[in-house]
């Protein structure tokens, strides 16, 4: 490899990560040195700091088991059913520490998570799912939001009274996204929204997401396996490995980074696709930390 891989926090002075620097005034979400344990014994996330600026789309990338989903669950306050706890660090949203808040308070303050695998209430109809998304708002706002979602996803209009468990994967993702948007969140967190979907649907979902950010000013924190796709729409990217943030930079620079290209996109320097065996071998050989 050409030289040591650059460490994001050293190369990018704009990033407000580890060293406990004060958040820039526009940061909506700010994680500082967050440490998460499962069962009080297994350290799932170590010393993670990341910041999401208002109105931006931030991608959180990493291999399976890197701790991305755990970070999202911590922000939403739903680690406790799995015996997870935030042991160290702070999670600030809009200037308030939300680490000790109840999940419903976090939703009310404007953070909504679309969990991995869509997780619809599959015995409920499409409309009932959407109504649940607007549970924290008033009845009238929910009714308005409902119309807005049907405008946004016209395909759902004809399916509003279908049981959501029997929808196609793409339609289910639309319901999951629509359900999250019912409460008009300030920060929308998406956990692998394209998992198991057809390329055409993926494109549709991504254009919806970028429209939300660019046109409606929603802030998005996106976790994706498909790094290239995620970086093509993101304003900033973080890369996690083994429970730590190992790199963070602008998408342009991340995409130019040879290690990222090798590790996540499977391209060699020449741009030729490597076969999986090489990538796997590479993975074993090379770790940024540890």
């Amino acid at each position: 490899m050409s030289g040591a891989p650059p460490r994001g926090r050293e190369t990018d002075p704009a990033s407000t990560t580890a060293e406990g620097m004060t958040a820039t005034s526009s940061a909506l979400l700010e994680l500082t040195n967050v440490q998460i344990f499962y069962d009080k014994a297994i350290e799932a996330v170590r010393d993670v700091s990341l910041s999401v600026k208002k109105g931006s789309l931030v991608a959180l990338l990493g291999a399976n088991g890197a701790g991305k989903t755990t970070v999202l669950k911590a922000i939403s306050g739903i680690l406790f059913p799995e015996d997870g706890t935030v042991e160290g660090g702070t999670i600030e949203f809009d200037g308030k520490n939300i680490a000790a808040m109840e999940p419903d308070e976090i939703v009310r303050s404007g953070i909504v998570l679309v969990p991995e695998g869509r997780q619809l209430f599959d015995t409920l109809t499409v409309e009932e799912n959407l109504i649940m998304g607007g549970y924290t708002t008033t009845q009238r706002n929910a009714a308005e939001a409902l119309e807005r979602i049907y405008d946004m996803f016209p395909a759902l209009t004809g399916r509003r009274h279908s049981v959501s468990g029997y929808l196609s994967g793409g339609e289910q993702q639309m319901v999951a996204l629509g359900r999250a948007l019912m409460s008009k969140p300030k920060l929308l967190m998406l956990d692998e929204p394209t998992l198991g979907l057809a390329p055409q649907i993926i494109e549709e979902i991504f254009s919806t997401i970028s429209a939300l950010v660019r046109e409606e000013g929603t802030t998005v924190l996106l976790v994706e396996q498909n790094a290239q796709l995620a970086l093509s729409v993101a304003d900033y990217g973080y890369i996690m490995e083994n429970g730590r943030v190992v790199l963070d930079d602008t998408p342009e620079r991340l995409l130019r980074n040879d290690d990222i290209c090798e590790f996540y996109l499977g391209f060699s320097d020449a741009g030729a696709r490597k076969n999986m065996r090489d990538v796997k071998h590479y993975k074993r050989r090379k770790r940024w930390l540890s």
């Binding site: 939403s76 306050g77 739903i78 406790f80 059913p81 109840e102 999940p103 419903d104 939703v107 009310r108 909504v112 998570l113 969990p115 997780q119 209430f121 599959d122 015995t123 409920l124 009932e128 109504i131 649940m132 998304g133 549970y135 924290t136 009845q139 468990g165 029997y166 359900r179 409460s183």
Partner: protein, 290 residues
């Protein structure tokens, strides 16, 4: 034939009461995943309090029902707050054990506070037997059946159209995701217990007004249990309907075979039904969509 019809009709009347109690079982099971073995005892407690109220003030029947609803709600909320809420997050089995303990506790409490002798529960309903085309019925039996129909309709629309009703189904379906919608699980639990106690109380008052009020009334809970299993523990309306079937089967067995077999027959029916449909007649098998 007349004998048969007589048995069926009076079976339906008893079955209506079973159905009402079974709805209470299903309500709690659906929302919290716990089988409440204290259902019959809650019924008993509410009935005794309502009885005391009728001895203190002269109360017309139309006032007795709202009074029972109030008492049921308060009893349900107190029980939930004192005994069930501390168990949230503990294994379901532990909570079930608490309800068994609660059953013994309430039974003793009632004997302690009142006594173990039968009391006549006097309501302003007339005791005159009504004869409708050869079938003789007490007015209170007819009232019980109408109450049953009203409750069935009320719960049908409650689960379909009210936000908290839909939220209950959502919590039953995916609890963690319900948290992500901002649904307060504790509220849902409290509402389930309150509603369940209300309908148990109504059943208790109706039963006591048809027969007498004594501590054996708590056995109604166990008698109604087959109805809930038969209809499907997770289906409130199904459980309600299961009550009618159990009521009729019991009456027919008592009428044609022997009175001793009466209460056994209900359990025989559920064993047979569960062999074919393990989730009950109207319960939902899990939708598995990979």
């Amino acid at each position: 034939m007349d004998y048969f019809l007589d048995l069926v009709i009076s079976g339906l009347m008893v079955g209506a009461l079973y159905g009402i109690i079974a709805m209470g079982f299903a309500m709690i099971y659906k929302a919290t995943g716990v089988v409440n073995f204290a259902q019959g005892e809650v019924l008993m407690l509410v009935a005794y309090i309502a009885y005391t109220l009728t001895t203190l003030i002269d109360m017309p029947f139309w006032l007795l029902i709202p009074a029972t609803i109030m008492i049921g709600m308060i009893v349900g909320l107190i029980v939930e707050f004192l005994f069930i809420r501390p168990m949230i997050g503990e294994p379901v089995f532990a909570t079930v054990m608490v309800t068994i303990g609660l059953a013994v506790f309430i039974r003793s409490l009632v004997v302690l506070l009142w006594d173990a002798f039968p009391h006549e529960f006097v309501t302003s309903l007339s005791e005159q037997v009504i004869e409708i085309s050869g079938i003789r019925l007490y007015p209170s039996q007819i009232v019980a059946f109408i109450t049953y129909l009203v409750l069935m309709a009320a719960f049908w629309s409650f689960f379909r159209y009210s936000r908290i009703g839909i939220a209950m189904r959502a919590v039953a379906n995916k609890e963690t995701v319900a948290l992500l919608m901002g649904i307060r699980i504790k509220h849902v639990y409290a509402v389930a217990w309150a509603l369940s106690s209300i309908i148990a109380g109504i059943a208790g008052v109706l039963f006591a007004s048809i027969y007498d009020l004594d501590p054996t009334i708590s056995a109604m809970g166990l008698n109604a249990f087959p109805a809930a299993i038969l209809g499907g523990l997770d289906s409130v309306l199904g459980s309600g309907f299961g009550g009618l079937i159990i009521g009729v089967v019991e009456n027919l067995t008592g009428g044609y075979l022997s009175t001793g077999l009466k209460s056994v027959s209900g359990f025989v029916v559920i064993i047979l039904v569960l062999m074919v449909r393990p989730y009950g007649l109207f319960g939902e098998p899990e939708i598995e969509r990979v």
